[in-house]
């Protein structure tokens, strides 16, 4: 095994920062959240005023089973530093079975991205229910820290 150099070599890049951004680099994480569980969980985090880094941008979908792997690749292409797919816990799917397909699809996708040389921390999937505001907070915080440690993503990106 060779040393994973990504984390140590790449310094936070400032050049690619949006105009007027604060000094500390904030990663950009695209999150796909199912309407019934994770989106509601994020709402609950808000209602409970649970603070987490402003790195996440949630895209609302009806079900995690709606998330096409191509959306994930497109996010990386366009400059996402991390991608999160989140939905109801297995057994809790509003549509009964959607997240079981999600589970298979993204387990495979995660392996594939890793095989292609993406750090697995950049693409994660999580089950967050509508009552798990604290879990949403914790997942976003952790993922942001993970990605901060890795630095900005350069892989698969088509914008410099």
């Amino acid at each position: 095994m060779s040393l994973d150099t990504e984390a140590v070599q790449q310094q936070p890049a400032t050049a690619a920062q949006p105009e007027g951004a604060p000094q500390e680099w904030e990663p950009r994480i695209v999150g796909f959240a199912c309407n019934w569980c994770t989106y509601a969980g994020a709402d609950l985090a808000g209602l409970s005023r649970l603070q987490y880094p402003p790195s996440i941008r949630l895209i609302r979908v009806p079900c995690s089973g709606r998330v096409n792997p191509q959306f994930v690749i497109r996010a990386f292409q366009r400059g996402a530093d991390g991608v999160l797919v989140a939905g109801c816990h297995p057994g809790d799917c509003h549509y009964s079975t959607g997240n079981y397909f999600t589970r298979r699809r993204f387990l495979l996708m995660q392996n594939m991205l890793q095989y292609m040389g993406m750090d697995p921390r950049r693409f994660q999937a999580r089950w967050i229910s509508g009552s798990e505001g604290p879990k949403f907070q914790q997942v976003i915080t952790q993922m942001t820290e993970d990605i901060k440690a890795l630095g900005p993503n350069r892989k698969m990106r088509d914008v410099e």
Binding site: V61, A75, A80, Y95
Partner: protein
């Protein structure tokens, strides 16, 4: 070029306190297609909504973005708002800058950056929004109830009382179901027949209820609101219009047959009603045993019938009728304990089941309510009850707990103590589960007042020794093997799905679990619905249940059915899947993963190389589709798209947040 208006809400200080809302509006104004952007203190208030409506007119807006709270909160509000403002309600997108931003990011600078991103995302999506329409379907205001046990009767009465016609289709010659076989009901010990038979009569006499007994559902076509259902009325050999139920025929019939109703402990005739209070109280001829059908001779019933109702030439009849809703209430079967060699493979006559015991203790049962054991009609004095027979046994039975056995076994022990003075009941159990009103108290009385001896352990073997049955168990609390010489052994056999449940499920297009119980649409939130819209569940066909639970579920299923029938038209989801037929190759992988069976094959004709050829494509039934979007990802070619969450819309959002 779209004309998008962006409306940023302060939500008092809820948003404005940590997000620079004016800056958000200013930035939003620079986004492509945005022609107007403003902020306001409370966007959801009357004046706030007026700001939107006015702007739509003034700036000729064709799309609207509201940046405020969660769409799960106010999306319906703002959809109505733009609708009154003259726009299709689906031309709205919301940016959740409160729950997802101002409330969680105290750093105003960072929060503002994120809020701008969220608005950009919404604006990018809304540009791709198209006007959507909810479609509507007509509802046939009639319900079909399959199964006429206590659950089915309750459903039918409730729906009928609400003013809708109901048909009960019952497989047996009479309604009443399992509850009619039961003697007393726990925990009150009131007589089962006394509370059931009045309901049976109510159902029979209700002007809105039609009972078709000795019949089965043959075919189901159509969908919610418009099911075309074919019912097979089995040949009864008795003309229901002529028969008065006088009973002369079954008195004179020479053929005796083991009674199914009495669990083979008593006899009935070849022309029979299962029990005296049957509804309808008109007999059927059991062709398998009737001498006339077997040998061509006899025909006594025909001769003695005063109204000439007996008709040996009768054939099965198929009738087709339209229904708006279906309630399935087909009940349960009792587990067949003949798989247990250690309990004698069902060959020991005095090893009986709970339902047998019900008949033995029932005053109108084969022993007139005197408890006598089947082998030699002796009154048993030592009785062993074994619980969890077939339940909680993955090796030979079912994995689940049958829920009712703890209580009915306690009831049986109570009845033993009452009916046979000086008798002793031993109950082998693994756990005693009594979660119900008055249940634990009943169990306590059984142990205390009625002196039933509870022994924790599963019985390993029952074998005859002389005229006794030796029962070997372990008292697992003591850690020692125990033996009881009993006169009779009663097995609390599991409740299992009807043997033909799978067939009915396929006919109805509903799903069933590994044990053949019908599956509810959601284990918590939609417990009486199925995945097939318009089909509801009541009673033990969905899983083991006692009478109170079955009746409660029946009421719930009736309410759901009434809710459906009360409308003359039903609105369906606007955000449904759509097939691009030109792209669809007809592989139908989508069909196999749709949880609602909303996708079907459709044959289309098209011109290829100068000739017309037919090919198959997928087709979405808008009334059934619930808009989950699973099919869109299964489709590699992207020929399926989910309206409201199209690939184009989601990709636009991805691009917008990555900018």
């Amino acid at each position: 070029m779209r004309k998008v208006g962006v409306f940023v809400c302060h939500c008092g200080s809820n948003i404005a306190g940590t997000v620079d809302v004016e800056k958000v509006a200013q930035e939003a104004a620079k986004f492509p297609n945005v022609v107007f952007a403003t902020d306001y203190k409370y966007m959801c208030s009357e004046p706030g909504q007026q700001v939107i409506k006015d702007a739509i007119k003034e700036h000729n807006l064709d799309r609207v973005v509201v940046a405020s709270c969660s769409p799960r909160m106010h999306e319906p509000t703002f959809r109505r708002c733009i609708q009154t403002g003259g726009l299709n309600p689906y031309l709205l997108e919301m940016a959740n800058i409160r729950e997802h931003c101002s409330w969680v990011h105290p750093d105003k600078a960072k929060g503002t950056v994120k809020a701008i991103d969220l608005v950009r995302k919404a604006a990018a999506k809304v540009v791709k929004n198209e006007p959507l329409q909810k479609s509507s379907i007509n509802i046939t205001k009639r319900a079909l109830v399959i199964g006429g046990g206590i659950a089915g009767i309750q459903v039918a009465l409730d729906i009928a009382d609400a003013g809708f016609p109901v048909t009960i289709v019952e497989k047996e010659p009479t309604i009443g179901g399992r509850m009619a076989q039961i003697d007393k009901t726990f925990p009150t010990l009131d007589c089962s027949a006394c509370i059931l038979t009045p309901k049976m009569v109510d159902a029979a006499q209700h002007p809105n209820i039609e009972i078709i007994s000795y019949a089965e559902v043959d075919k189901v076509e159509g969908y919610v609101g418009n099911f075309d259902i074919t019912i097979r009325k089995k040949a009864r050999s008795v003309d229901m219009n002529k028969c008065t139920g006088c009973g002369t025929c079954w008195e004179k019939c020479p053929t005796k047959v083991d009674s199914e109703f009495d669990m083979q402990l008593g006899k009935r005739k070849a022309i029979y009603t299962p029990f005296p209070q049957a509804v309808p109280n008109k007999p059927v001829i059991d062709r398998e045993h009737c001498l006339k059908f077997k040998t061509g001779k006899c025909g006594i019933c025909e001769k003695v019938c005063p109204t000439g109702a007996v008709d040996f030439t009768m054939e099965d009849e198929l009738i087709t009728q339209q229904y708006g809703a279906i309630v399935v209430a087909t009940g349960f079967d009792q587990f067949d304990h003949s798989v247990y060699g250690e309990y004698g493979y069902g060959k020991y006559p005095d090893v009986i089941t709970g339902l047998h015991f019900e008949r033995l203790v029932n005053a109108s049962g084969p022993t007139m309510g005197k408890i006598k054991r089947p082998s030699d009609h002796k009154v048993p004095e030592t009785v062993v009850f074994i619980k969890c027979v077939g339940s909680r046994d993955e090796a030979k039975g079912k994995t689940y707990c049958s829920r009712t056995c703890c209580m009915y076994t306690a009831k049986h022990a109570t009845l033993m103590a009452e009916k046979v003075k000086g008798s002793k009941s031993y109950i082998f159990y693994m756990d005693v589960r009594t979660p119900g009103k008055g249940y634990e108290e009943f169990y306590k009385r059984t142990q205390g007042e009625y002196g039933a001896q509870y022994i924790r352990g599963r019985v390993s073997k029952v074998y005859p020794k002389g005229d006794k049955l030796v029962v070997r168990g372990e008292d697992s609390l003591l850690g020692r093997p125990v033996e009881i010489e009993a006169d009779m052994v009663v097995l609390a056999s599991a409740m299992v799905a009807r043997s033909d449940a799978g067939d009915l499920a396929r006919t109805l297009g509903i799903s069933y679990d590994k044990d053949n119980f019908f599956t509810e649409a959601h284990p918590k939130l939609r417990p009486v619905e199925t995945h097939t819209a318009g089909v509801f569940l009541a009673g033990a066909c969905q899983g083991p249940k006692d009478i109170p639970d079955s009746v409660a579920q029946a009421g719930a299923a009736a309410a759901k059915a009434i809710g459906l029938l009360a409308k003359s038209q039903m609105e369906t989801e606007a955000t449904v899947s759509q097939v691009d037929e030109s792209r669809c190759s007809g592989c139908l992988l989508c069909k196999s993963i749709c949880p609602y069976k909303a996708i079907d094959v459709k044959i289309i004709a098209e011109r290829v190389g100068g000739k017309t050829v037919e090919r198959q494509v997928a087709s979405v039934n808008k009334s059934l589709c619930q808009g989950c979007g699973a099919c869109t990802v299964a489709c590699r070619a992207g020929s399926l798209n989910l309206l409201g969450f199209t690939n184009e819309q989601i990709l636009a959002e991805v691009e917008a947040v990555c900018l």
